[in-house]
């Protein structure tokens, strides 16, 4: 059953008289209880999409087109009140920066319980009981004392656990996790992510994992959406996508990452150039300046994506060569890297 469906979402930034489209044609969907990863580099629009789902876009940002269907209901046309009813008991979010995402002057207990008291009508006592339970679930010991403490008493990893507890507090059906571990050390990152995905699968909560880390995606997601410069360029099951990416960007991305299992001395094959500035006007495919396969068509026509497809790609010149990870290069003879390096 489809829990969340995003269709051709566009988000505009208005500054004075000027409008810039930061996200265009973002489309993906998520079934109940599933985990979806949204991957992309900074500026790809992945976080904005999540915020749009929450209805928490900053004032100068507006969803300009498309639909966000949650349980079939379009969130973009919902009233503020309706959205508030959804936030917490239906959809929750875990943010990137654990150090700043908790209110520094309120106790952990307060921040953990206020949602329950508001949405679930819990008494202070009930809320506290559930809060203790939640803290234990997310692996915080001595929960009773911890409830009375303030965020600055907590380390980054602990705060992120608290954030997860807050997200789970009202038993939502969907959690959007926006780069939840980027600010954390690898060992902590591993703790938090396995905790999050374990709790979600145990409790049947759908999880959208937004990240730039291809390793995390590989470990935690079944299905992957790749975003580039505000658009979805490819969406597929993780295994398929990693083995045989069809979009040159995805392909380049996977070839750029150093891996632990490549043969020593192998070469990285970076994508040339840098992502476009969101304020630039580009025609055609937004990846075309960096694409080695770009044709004239790519310069003029924007490729569209069929997001219902099992392996959806937005490209006029899709690739179909699987990658050889041990060499960190395509299996077949794709010469792009070799010719350029003397």
């Amino acid at each position: 059953m489809t829990l969340l469906q995003i269709e051709n979402l566009a988000i505009d930034l208005t500054r004075g008289a000027q409008t810039h489209r930061l996200v265009s044609d973002a489309s993906w969907q998520l079934d109940a209880g599933q985990t979806l990863a949204v991957v992309g580099e900074s500026g790809s629009g992945k976080s904005l999409t999540a915020l749009a789902v929450m209805g928490l876009l900053a004032d100068e940002l507006t969803p300009a087109a498309g639909h966000i269907l949650f349980d079939g209901k379009d969130l973009l046309t919902a009233t503020d009140d309706e959205l508030r009813q959804l936030r917490g008991p239906q959809i929750a979010m875990v943010f990137q920066e654990p150090m700043t995402s908790l209110n520094p002057v309120k106790t952990i207990g307060y921040q953990l319980t206020e949602g329950m008291r508001h949405h679930l009508g819990f008494s202070a006592k009930q809320a506290k009981a559930r809060a203790l339970d939640l803290l234990e679930q997310v692996g915080i010991s001595d929960a009773k004392r911890r409830l009375k403490q303030y965020p600055h008493h907590f380390s980054g990893g602990m705060r992120q656990r608290v954030m997860i507890a807050i997200a789970l507090a009202c038993k939502p059906r969907l959690i959007l996790a926006d780069e939840p571990t980027t600010a954390l050390d690898v060992t902590i990152q591993a703790q938090i992510l396995s905790l999050l995905s374990r709790l979600c699968s145990e409790q049947g909560v759908g999880l959208v994992l937004i990240t730039h880390n291809l390793g995390i995606v590989a470990r935690h997601a079944r299905r992957v959406v790749v975003m580039y410069a505000g658009s979805v360029v490819e969406a597929a099951d993780a295994r398929q996508l990693y083995r045989a990416p069809k979009h040159p960007y995805t392909h380049g991305l996977l070839s750029s990452v150093p891996r632990m299992d490549t043969r020593k001395g192998s070469k990285l094959l970076p994508i040339q150039g840098a992502p476009p500035d969101p304020f630039d006007v580009l025609r055609g495919c937004r990846f075309n300046p960096r694409c080695q396969h770009a044709t004239d068509k790519c310069l003029t026509d924007k490729p569209l994506i069929d997001h219902m497809a099992v392996h959806a790609v937005a490209c006029w010149n899709q690739l179909d060569t699987p990658l050889d990870h041990t060499l960190n290069r395509p299996i077949s003879n794709n010469a792009s890297g070799e010719t350029r390096n003397p």
Partner: protein, 326 residues
């Protein structure tokens, strides 16, 4: 690859006093680096990995003489540079340069590329006044930037471009060794690969020696010949890059490897991961014995009492763990 030691670090300690009160008395010490020894050979890339607070950046800063060593020595070409001053320090500074983590913060925002690269050339009279602009152009070219970038301010460049300017600035001093402190970790994946390739090329072309500080194991593995793994101010393990990650000799190294997901779903599906529990203790009050014992899945009584020495378990592979004693 030659095997003469260019840099030798012996029993290095760096402690930062925590002062408080009216008289600014030292009330505590942060033991950022706590008795570290290693050798960097000429022409190699030596990697130091570890989580935040493990002391890797402090080592880099001590080598760069940005912080003073509290104890121990840093021998460069056989000379102790921990306390040199004046002309000797100036000579040393010319030989060892740095590339920093943050491409936003590492370039003075008030100066153009030309000024940034030109300043050391002018101040140290590395080239004739008339040749400064040519040299700048050459350095930019070396870092794969066109000459027009000389006129730009940092905010007019992208992260990758800025990092290239930072590299060019370091190269302006014609160093023998470059300390790269998390030099690629702030960059997006696609840009990161470009810079890694550039660093590799420069090392070969200019016969540089690198100390590469990083937290991303795969990047360190990719770039470095030898690697040291640090935890809480101490070296846990050091060895060749291949051998340390293939056959880790310390539970911490294993845990790190476990924590790093491989960008390969099939691979990941086959892995059973038990994440390391707990958090890193405070460096102002490190645990007794092996500093890792509070989180070690294989902890023994002995670990809580005495510090395991860094001993060879193989030629070229040393680890500090009591498990290896057995």
């Amino acid at each position: 690859m030659t095997q003469e030691p260019l840099l030798q670090i012996q029993n290095l300690h760096v402690r930062f006093p925590v002062r408080a009160g009216l008289l600014q008395r030292t009330v505590a010490e942060v033991k950022a680096v706590n008795g570290v020894s290693f050798v960097v050979n000429k022409g190699e890339a030596f990697g130091i990995v570890g989580e935040s607070g493990c002391g890797k950046t402090t080592i880099a800063r001590a080598v760069l003489r940005l912080v003073d060593a509290t104890e121990g020595s840093i021998l460069y070409n056989g000379d102790d540079v921990t306390a040199v001053k004046g002309q000797q320090l100036a000579t040393f500074r010319k030989k060892v340069q740095a590339i920093f983590q943050d491409p936003f913060s590492s370039l003075n925002p008030r100066k153009t590329t030309k000024d940034i690269i030109g300043e050391p050339l002018r101040v140290h009279r590395l080239v004739n006044g008339n040749d400064v602009n040519n040299r700048i152009k050459d350095l930019l070219e070396l870092c794969e930037l066109p000459a027009r970038f000389a006129e730009l301010y940092p905010h007019e460049m992208s992260g990758g471009q800025r990092q290239r300017v930072g590299i060019a600035r370091a190269l302006a001093m014609e160093p023998e060794m470059i300390v790269c402190d998390e030099a690629v970790s702030a960059l997006d994946v696609s840009i990161q690969a470009q810079i890694i390739n550039l660093l590799e090329r420069l090392r070969k072309e200019l016969s540089l020696t690198y100390i590469f500080i990083g937290h991303d194991l795969s990047v360190v593995r990719h770039l470095c010949n030898r690697v040291a793994v640090m935890y809480l101010g101490r070296v846990m393990e050091t060895a060749g890059a291949d051998s340390i990650f293939k056959n880790p000799g310390h539970p911490y190294t294993s845990a790190l490897l476990d924590a790093v997901p491989n960008p390969d779903p099939e691979d990941e599906a086959g892995r059973h991961i038990e994440p390391l529990q707990g958090e890193v203790p405070s460096p102002s009050n490190p645990p007794q014995g092996c500093v890792f014992h509070t989180r070690c899945p294989q902890v023994m009584d002995k670990c809580c009492q005495s510090v395991p020495p860094l001993e060879n378990i193989n030629p070229n592979h040393a680890a500090a763990c009591w498990l290896n004693e057995a």
